[in-house]
């Protein structure tokens, strides 16, 4: 049974240290392994705790383990937890056929916060991402997460968005399963809410 449109399917999750990038990639990875896929996740997160970018290359295959880094120009889906990081990834790994889902809330680099450079305007970011992808979705994940109580839930909302877009061979139940394995009963409920919110947002956009 071939369920992947492409083998390997290449997903990049990108963001800034502390956004839960690694957790998101693990949730997706665990769900896929449980369904029998080969998953290879390569991560770059040197000193990310101290302000640096984090990228996770998630490669899904029915046949084999893959190189942990996606080659230039070969990503299929980019899940951006932060807008500038999304553009940073599109540069080397994008191609005209990519699907991009990005969070709208910026995390300003030190250079911007100290007044040395300006963070690009949101309109410009939207335009540029739309130009460089086949399809692009913009999600106010941080806002939604803050409404749920804490900004850290944004990554789960984004995973929900990805599920709703049906680009991965994963459905809602698959993710619920790994959420149950990962979170204690206290935290489980709010994470499920976050997942549902992400799914809902995309479904509303598509309708």
């Amino acid at each position: 049974m071939v369920t992947l449109k492409k083998d390997p399917l290449n997903l990049i999750i990108t963001g800034v240290g502390g956004q839960g990038n690694v957790l998101a990639s693990q949730l997706i990875g665990n769900a896929l392994v449980a369904k029998g896929y080969f998953v290879t996740i390569g991560e770059t997160y040197g000193a990310s705790q101290r302000g640096g970018p984090v990228m996770s290359h998630v490669r899904i295959s029915e046949k084999t383990q893959c190189a942990p880094l996606i080659p230039e120009g070969k990503s299929d889906v980019i899940l951006g937890l932060e807008p500038m990081e999304t553009i940073r990834i599109i540069g080397p790994y994008g191609n005209p056929n990519i699907l991009v889902v990005t969070n709208s809330r910026p995390i300003y680099p030190l250079d911007v916060t100290v007044g040395n450079t300006k963070y690009p305007d949101w309109k410009v970011i939207r335009a540029v991402i739309a130009e460089l992808s086949q399809k692009a979705y913009f999600v106010d994940a941080t806002e939604m997460a803050m409404n749920l109580g804490t900004p850290i839930l944004a990554n789960i909302i984004m995973v929900g968005a990805l599920v709703a877009l049906k680009v991965l061979p994963l459905n809602r139940e698959d993710i619920l399963g790994v959420l149950q394995e990962t979170f204690s009963t206290q935290k489980l409920e709010i994470n499920i809410k976050a997942l549902e919110l992400g799914i809902e947002t995309i479904n509303n956009k598509n309708n």
Partner: protein
């Protein structure tokens, strides 16, 4: 519930390379596991520590990698199986004993896992530790997949026990920290009982005899490797070019070949046992084709060694001349990390092929956009980090001392002294403990007329690892410098593993606290302890210490790492800006807080042209209130 301890033989799970190695150690019956934290190796012993009590094994964060190896070796000599793990620099520290261990031999299987860091994502250098295997005459294995990370660990322990010698397992960041499918095996039920057989001692003399014996072991390993399932060939019978690769090189080569559509022209010889090289196996495959390309991480290790094998075998097996491509020929870069794209470049050159990853117009535009809109995320200290305060005081003290003084830092978060957040204070770089060692040297140049003030900086974990001997040296040889210990009660950079100063062991038990201040005093050094958050006092102290030109002056700047306080503790202050006092960009300030002090908790508001507190990021430490020249930063106790 740790995945490393999952009792589900046959199940396939997603595991980090390091976790797979740890799981392999458990399945093979390892009872003693040791390490000093070092990215990218820390999770091996870290994950074993989490399950140590359940598995009834002993796991230790040793004070440094040499002791870690020695502790594991002791377990092995007592008949137990052991694992010790480290990063490349750690092997440099441990290798003195490693070479002796080669001569003395071992009893219970012992695997030495080394995780190299090509491109230096989290290191001071990039180094190919496979050279140690050749230098010390040890069998060497390189996993490619995560399954192999587990399976090779098990094999290494079995081989080590059979041959009575250490076996080295070498990985890289992209295996250690990457995740993939691993099928779990059985976890053992019994434990061995340790016993040191005094009738069969582990000595290194007579040395020459022992060395011969070591070579015999190595030859036995070679025999095993001739038929190892870790070595294999894939591709056409007679390829135009054969890639010889190990480790991650296999993945990158496979993908390069697929993307370029060269499956019918290029074959790949996978080597998992890379020292000693199985020469008969190699000879067979070297006969396939004239063009050979080597794909491996960091140094041309396989490249040089296979060329040797070819040189020896060519006349015997009548293999003609070969064209070797690799790092020596420039087809694969000799510095930096391997990627599929780099292998593609090599193949393009070697086979005169063309390849475009995607529409070149798109690539060009995408790169343009990235250049225009994306800025670097400079590394800096976390909000509330005591190092920012310490370096502020040191920076000012060096200026007040006005003698072109400088800082010699060590390894850790505080090595960020080389960045803008550390006020570009770093003037030297080194290995663990080198900051103090170098200062010892500078501190003896007074008699030749050297008058510059020198201050070395190290952390609490680094102090125990390597700095203590340097302090003995400074005291004994009367070297003149200020030795600053930034005691934040943490081994922060690698992930907060406990160390001898914090009172907990790897396995979570209470541990005696070794008091750094008491140790320094016991060595007879002049010691002072200050709180770096008291900028005025700290600056005055350091400036004063610079005036004392006799011997080493130890200054301990003690304050907990900001990240240790994250959970549960409420911030001491609430900070806001008194806008009417903020001078902003005018004469009298020009953004001192955001432009130079650079705490991410303060941002520059381009609308109001004043400073502003980012309430999400600010942790309320209050240090910034003391640096504002106009009292515009206000702190209120919470």
């Amino acid at each position: 519930m740790s995945i490393v301890n999952l009792d589900a033989p046959g199940r396939t799970v997603l595991m980090m390379g390091n976790e797979a190695t740890a799981r392999g150690a458990l399945e093979a019956g390892v009872m003693v596991a040791t390490a000093y934290p070092g990215t990218p190796s820390s999770e091996i012993i870290g994950s074993l520590a989490e399950v140590a009590k359940e598995r009834e094994i002993y796991v230790e964060w040793s004070v440094n990698e040499k002791v870690a190896l020695e502790v594991a070796a002791a377990a092995s000599m007592a008949g137990l199986r052991a694992i010790t793990a480290m990063k490349q620099n750690g092997l440099n520290v441990a290798c003195d004993y490693l070479f002796t261990l080669g001569l003395t031999g071992v009893k219970g299987g012992i695997v030495l896992v080394v995780c190299d860091d090509p491109a230096s994502h989290s290191s001071s250098n990039e180094e190919d530790t496979r050279a140690f295997a050749r230098m010390g005459d040890f069998p060497l294995l390189e996993p490619t997949t995560f399954q192999e990370a587990k399976d090779m660990t098990i094999y290494a322990l079995e081989l080590s026990e059979e041959l009575r010698t250490v076996v080295i397992l070498r990985g890289v960041t992209r295996i250690s920290h990457a995740r993939g499918n691993v099928k779990l095996g059985e976890l053992p039920k019994d434990h061995r009982k340790p016993y040191f057989d005094t009738s069969s001692p582990f000595t290194y003399s007579p040395m020459v005899q022992k060395h011969s014996l070591l070579h015999e072991k190595l030859n036995k390993a070679k025999e095993r490797f001739e038929t190892s399932p870790f070595n294999s060939y894939e591709g056409p019978e007679k390829p135009d070019l054969m890639v010889i690769a190990s480790g991650t090189g296999i993945f990158y080569s496979r993908e390069a070949v697929t993307l370029m559509g060269l499956e019918d022209q290029v074959g790949i010889l996978k080597l998992g046992t890379t020292w000693p090289l199985p020469d008969r196996f190699l000879g067979k495959h070297l006969a396939r084709t004239q063009k050979i390309m080597f794909v491996e991480e960091v140094d041309p290790f396989l490249e040089s060694n296979v060329k040797e094998v070819w040189a020896d075998l060519a006349p015997i097996l009548e293999i003609g001349p070969r064209t070797f491509y690799g790092k020596r020929s420039g087809h694969i870069p000799i510095v930096g990390e391997l990627t599929t794209d780099r292998v593609i470049e090599g193949l393009k050159k070697a086979l005169d092929e063309v390849y475009e990853p995607c529409d070149p117009n798109y690539s060009r535009r995408a790169k343009e956009v990235t250049k225009e809109f994306v800025s670097d995320r400079a590394l800096g200290f976390c909000p509330g980090c005591p190092h920012r305060a310490s370096y502020w005081a040191i920076k000012n003290a060096l200026k007040l001392d006005d003698r072109e003084g400088f800082l010699t830092p060590d390894i850790g978060c505080y090595a960020l002294a080389r960045t803008a957040s550390g006020f570009f204070l770093s003037k030297t770089g080194g290995a663990m403990g080198s900051g103090t060692g170098l200062a010892c040297g500078f501190g003896k140049l007074q008699e030749f007329g050297f008058d510059q003030s020198v201050i070395s900086v190290c952390g609490d974990s680094t102090f125990f690892h390597a700095v203590m001997p340097a302090l003995v040296n400074a005291q004994y040889n009367k070297s003149n410098f200020v030795m600053c210990i930034l005691d934040n009660s943490a081994t922060a950079m690698t992930g907060f593993q406990p160390h001898p100063g914090v009172g907990t062991s790897a396995m979570g038990d209470p541990a005696p606290i070794l008091d750094i201040e008491a140790i320094c005093r016991a060595m007879g050094a002049k010691v002072e302890v200050k709180d770096p958050f008291d900028l005025k006092d700290t600056t005055e102290t350091i400036t004063r210490l610079f005036q004392d030109r006799e011997g080493v002056k130890v200054l301990i700047l003690k304050r907990k790492c900001a990240l240790l306080k994250a959970k549960g503790e409420k911030p001491p202050y609430k900070i806001h800006i008194a806008l009417e006092n903020c001078v902003g960009q005018d004469c009298g300030c020009n953004q001192l807080c955001t432009r130079i002090f650079r705490c991410p908790g303060i941002i520059w508001d381009t609308e109001t042209k004043k400073a502003k507190v980012d309430e999400v990021i600010c942790v309320g430490c209050g240090v910034c209130t003391d640096i504002c020249p106009n009292s515009a930063i206000i702190k209120e106790e919470t």
